[in-house]
Amino acid sequence: MTRLSANAVLGLACILFALVTAFLWIPFDTDTWLVERARGRYTLGDSLAPTLAAGFIFLAGLMLLREGQQTEDRPTYNNLQFIGAMIGMGVVSILLMRWAGPIAVNLFASGEEYRLLRDTAPWKYIGFVLGGGCMVFAMIAFVDERVTLRALIVAVLAVVGIILLYDVPFEDVLLPPNGDV
């Protein structure tokens, strides 16, 4: 069996995505068609611009199929392993950033609501320190392929530095996630 080139696979994926977008997503998720007639006048509907964008993607897919095997630029197994790990670390860190503060308030400040403490130390720092610190530490440790004290120190310094940069000098600036909890 002939193996498809990276460009051909990407091209086919583009064509499929463009067709699904143009014939399913846009018609079922938009109120107006390509052109609308309102009060006797024709106006451009909300579907036109995204359909054109889908058209570009479709055309790009056809061109990629035509380009064929000019290049073999595509993610390898190693690339997927790396980005998978990064996504995992990022998602866990952002979730920690969002929920560590409210959970800590629930556990240790009974009766209080996190929203009311979001600009009060130490509660306001819990999410950012844990989530941000975890993100920096995990990324360094992953790239270094070992857990080191140096990674921990850099992570702590990074979150402290960012707090000093944003939280300390500006009264109306809130660190994540305190602006929209």
Binding site: L10, G11, C14, W25, I26, D29, T30, D31, T32, V35, R41, Y42, T43, L44, D46, A49, P50, L52, A53, A54, G55, F56, I57, L59, A60, M63, L64, R66, E67, Q70, T71, P75, N78, F82, I83, M86, G90, I94, M135, V136, M139, I140, F142, V143, E145, R150, V154, A155, V159, I162, L165, Y166, D172, V173, L174, L175, P176, P177, G179, D180
Partner: protein, 532 residues
């Protein structure tokens, strides 16, 4: 009130910079805020340019929310904030040469060609001289490019306003997008794909209907994707992922940094300058011409500048002179002048057409949009007899650019040569910190955790785009221009009474559309010609 002429606007622009609000006083001398911000921006730019893994774009992404927090959302903030960003843009171009010459690690992608002659010169004990040549050539190219910008942008804008109506403007945006798609990244198919994805992304959750289109009925998508989250995600976070992965793969294989003692004369003499001036001149013209076209980056300018310089050098060099690639000062001059002269010319399409030509220009537009009161495009160049505040801002920007060049000529070189130590910071420690700092900066600006999720998601998209060798630049520019394209097309369609062929009614619009198609078709034929 007296009627204002062109010269009055120039003077008002200069005044806005040098007679603006005082930042602080130095030895009893009041320092205006814009002057202070341009200086800080330039220094920041040189530092980030000299740090491998960082660059002007990252510095702009991180500093924009800080600046807006400091200066707020009013028109007085425009010149200090834009001045800072211009300082960063100029400084990072100069700073990129430091690690390229000293450690063979280009601080910015543009500085790659500088390593070819800069590092051999450093190994031969001529590091300081190589840095001086890089600085002189870079600032010369930048200054030339700014002069072209200042002369050309107003005329181009006036021509655009005089001859281009709504259908022509719509066609011009389409032409720009097709041009960017065709020329950026080597493959027109991938450029078009990047452009299509950018347009599709910006149309999510927007539109004129009551129901926000393409939002799946979710709250998260109903307000659209924040422009800053998309731009920072694809450009900055995507690049950090790629850099981190490269480090993961090649983990510390480079070994220690060799310290080389300087030997011989390190001064830059008039004879040296006379030798490199023809190379600077040619490269500055090449870089400016390339920079004026949207989407073609400084990397291509550096490559063409270097190749052109090499041909001349091979013909004329004395037998004892080093050839290009073996430590020729002319090689550094040709590269640095070409890549630096792109930055000023890149602002020609921004200021005269409102179309960003590169990533730095995207951040200038983001800043202008965030603050308000200044919409880059042909309409700002209206020399009205009543005060046009946007025109004053433009001449203020030109003044800030000239001032930044003066700073670059004087203190820039000395500061740049003292930054060799930055190249020794381990990237695997620096990049995760920059990643978190970028997300925190984004949150400070958007105050919404969904922006953080969007940026992270677009970072992953940016990573995959790079791994498929798809340039993220058409995506970003399409995202920035998408809404304007739709709005202009809607207005043009209505203005022509709902004519479906409104893009072909006027000869200029028809030429633009045909050119847009021709650019894509011609770029498709290019690989066949090569393989034949």
């Amino acid at each position: 009130m007296t009627d204002l002429g062109a010269l009055d606007y120039v003077l008002l622009g200069i005044q806005a910079v040098f007679a603006g609000p005082e930042a602080f006083s130095l030895l009893g001398l009041p320092i205006p805020i814009t002057v202070a911000m341009v200086t800080i921006g330039l220094i920041t730019g040189i530092i980030v340019g000299a740090t491998p893994g960082l660059g002007g774009v990252i510095a702009m992404a991180i500093s924009l929310p800080i600046l807006i927090s400091i200066f707020g959302f009013n028109s007085d903030a425009l010149l200090p904030v834009l001045g800072f960003l211009i300082g960063v843009m100029k400084g990072s171009t100069v700073g990129g040469a430091v690690p390229a010459i000293l450690f063979n690690t280009p601080g910015t992608p543009d500085a790659f060609m500088t390593t070819l002659d800069g590092y051999p010169m450093a190994k031969a004990g001529k590091a300081r001289k190589a840095l001086k040549i890089a600085h002189f050539s870079s600032v010369s190219g930048d200054t030339f490019s700014d002069m072209v910008l200042i002369v050309c942008a107003p005329f181009l804008a006036i021509l655009v306003e005089a001859y281009l109506d709504l259908p022509e403007k719509t066609a011009l945006i389409i032409l720009s997008l097709s041009f960017i798609a065709a020329v950026v990244g080597g493959s027109p198919a991938k450029g078009l794909l990047s452009c299509g994805l950018g347009l599709l992304a910006v149309y999510i959750g927007t539109g004129e209907d009551f129901y926000p289109r393409l939002s799946f009925g979710t709250d998260a998508l109903s307000d659209g994707i924040p422009i800053t989250a998309a731009v920072i995600g694809v450009l900055v976070l995507g690049a950090i992922f790629v850099e981190l992965e490269d480090l993961w793969h090649q983990k510390r294989t480079s070994g220690g940094i060799q310290i080389i003692k300087e030997v011989g004369d390190q001064r830059l003499h008039w004879a040296d300058i006379r030798r490199i001036l023809p190379f600077i001149g040619r490269s500055a013209v090449i870089g400016t011409a390339i920079g004026a076209l949207p989407g073609i980056g400084s990397t291509l300018a550096a490559t063409i500048g270097y190749a052109t310089g090499k041909r001349r050098h091979d013909r004329r060099k004395a037998p004892d002179d080093p050839s290009f690639g073996n430590g020729a000062p002319e090689g550094i001059a040709a590269t640095e002048a070409a890549n630096s002269s792109v930055s000023g010319a890149n602002l020609i399409p921004v200021l005269s057409l409102g179309i960003p030509g590169n990533t730095a220009a995207v951040f200038l537009i983001l800043a202008a949009e965030s603050i308000g009161g200044f919409n880059p495009g042909p309409s700002v160049f209206k020399f009205t007899t009543d005060l046009n505040p946007e025109l004053v801002i433009v001449f203020g920007l030109f003044t800030a650019m000239i001032f930044a060049n003066l700073l670059n000529w004087t203190i820039g070189g000395v500061f740049m040569r003292s930054l060799g130590v930055l190249a020794r910071i381990p990237k695997q420690l620096l990049l995760p910190v920059v990643f978190l700092l970028t997300l925190a900066s984004l949150y400070v600006q958007e105050t919404d955790m969904s922006a953080v999720w969007f940026a992270f998601g677009f970072g992953v998209l940016g990573y995959f785009m790079r791994r498929f060798a798809i340039s993220p630049l058409p995506f970003v520019i399409a995202f920035v221009l998408g809404s304007r394209l739709e709005d202009t097309a809607r207005q043009a369609f209505s203005a022509t009474g709902g004519d479906p062929f409104f893009l072909f009614k006027s000869p200029i619009a028809a030429i633009f559309i045909l050119a847009a198609v021709a650019v894509i078709v011609l770029s498709l034929r290019k690989p066949e010609a090569k393989s034949a």
